[in-house]
């Protein structure tokens, strides 16, 4: 313990800590990146294979109840 705090050694210890922190962040970011892109690719593939799947929106139908030319009745 006391060896690590000696002036000459301390700087290497500090460097090692900084490096370890950076490597941790880097690995985390790398894996996050890989997962995010994989998910995105998956979603895009699903969408191109089956576009209806994404939006099974309720249908809407338009019907003409009265012929276009008829005179509108009162009320």
């Amino acid at each position: 313990m006391s060896v690590a705090l000696e002036a000459g050694v301390a700087i290497y210890v500090a460097m090692a800590v900084a490096l370890a922190v950076w490597i941790g962040i880097f690995v985390y970011l790398w894996r996050l990146d890989a997962q995010a892109s994989a998910l995105k690719r998956e979603l895009e593939r699903e969408q191109s294979e089956d576009p209806v799947e994404r939006a099974p929106a309720p249908r809407a139908t338009v019907t003409r109840v009265r012929p276009a030319s008829s005179e509108p009745g009162e009320g």
Binding site: A55, A57, P58, R64, V65, A68
Partner: protein, 240 residues
């Protein structure tokens, strides 16, 4: 006002042949129903948050036609009318108003619309007359007292115009909404639950308004009331 909508009808104010091209005053002509207004809805979809309410609605309406929109609660009737009014942006597709064959910028189109809905609230601290006067002023309409009185009478609020909205009953508030919507003689009238909280005489007002509007303008009614379904020339069923 003739029963037949006049398409590109030159008037004394506008030299013949200029109406169909870019005519600076043609919005004014639209107001006056001298030029036919058409509404085209193409593949429109709406979302609420991330949820799709409806998708792929396409239709076309021209002056003199009434569209009735029906569907269960939450099927997007009000949302559809808000889209038509330009209060909300469609998630996909487009809504185009044409005036004399010329597509209008959505922001200009908003001024051709009269909208009546339960969501529509007017200023409670002001009287009915002050409300109408205010909206006439922001629309740059020069209405005198007689005109506003006539409008109040038309929706059955004659003599009640100087009371504050806070004291109005819900039926009276609904009548004032009609006055608000009809103020600028819009060629397009959007009615969400038109008969809401109205008594028999109020319903008669609605019927008269729709009958007058269909002589040349467009009416869209969102309702589930079977008595109101019969107004329609076209029927749009959402969520079926």
């Amino acid at each position: 006002m003739s029963g037949q909508p006049a398409l590109c009808n030159p008037t004394s104010r506008t030299p013949p042949g200029r109406v169909c091209e870019h005519h600076p005053g043609f919005q004014f002509l639209c107001y006056n129903r001298q030029v036919e207004t058409r509404l085209t809805v193409e593949g429109v979809a709406a979302t609420y948050g991330a949820r799709r309410v409806f998708a792929d609605v396409s239709l076309e309406l021209s002056g003199g036609e009434v569209l009735v929109v029906s569907g269960a609660n939450g099927s997007g009737k009000s949302t559809f009318l808000r889209l038509l009014a330009g209060l909300q942006r469609p998630e996909a597709g487009q809504i185009v108003y044409r005036c004399g064959g010329q597509a209008l910028d959505p922001r200009d189109a908003a001024r051709l619309i009269g909208w009546v809905a339960p969501d529509l609230m007017l200023y409670r601290e002001l009287t009915g007359r002050e409300n109408l006067r205010f909206f006439a002023e922001v629309r740059r309409l020069h209405l005198d007292d007689g005109a506003i009185e006539a409008l109040l009478e038309r929706v059955g609020l004659a003599g009640r115009g100087d009371e504050r909205l806070a004291t109005y009953s819900s039926g009276m508030a609904q009548r004032l909404r009609y006055a608000y919507a009809l103020l600028h003689h819009p060629p397009v009238l959007l009615l969400d639950e038109p008969g809401l909280t109205l008594d028999e005489r109020g319903t008669a007002v609605v019927e008269r308004v729709i009958a007058e509007q269909r002589r040349s303008g467009i009416v869209v009614v969102a309702t589930n009331d079977p008595r109101e379904l019969r107004y329609g020339d076209l029927l749009l069923r959402l969520g079926t």
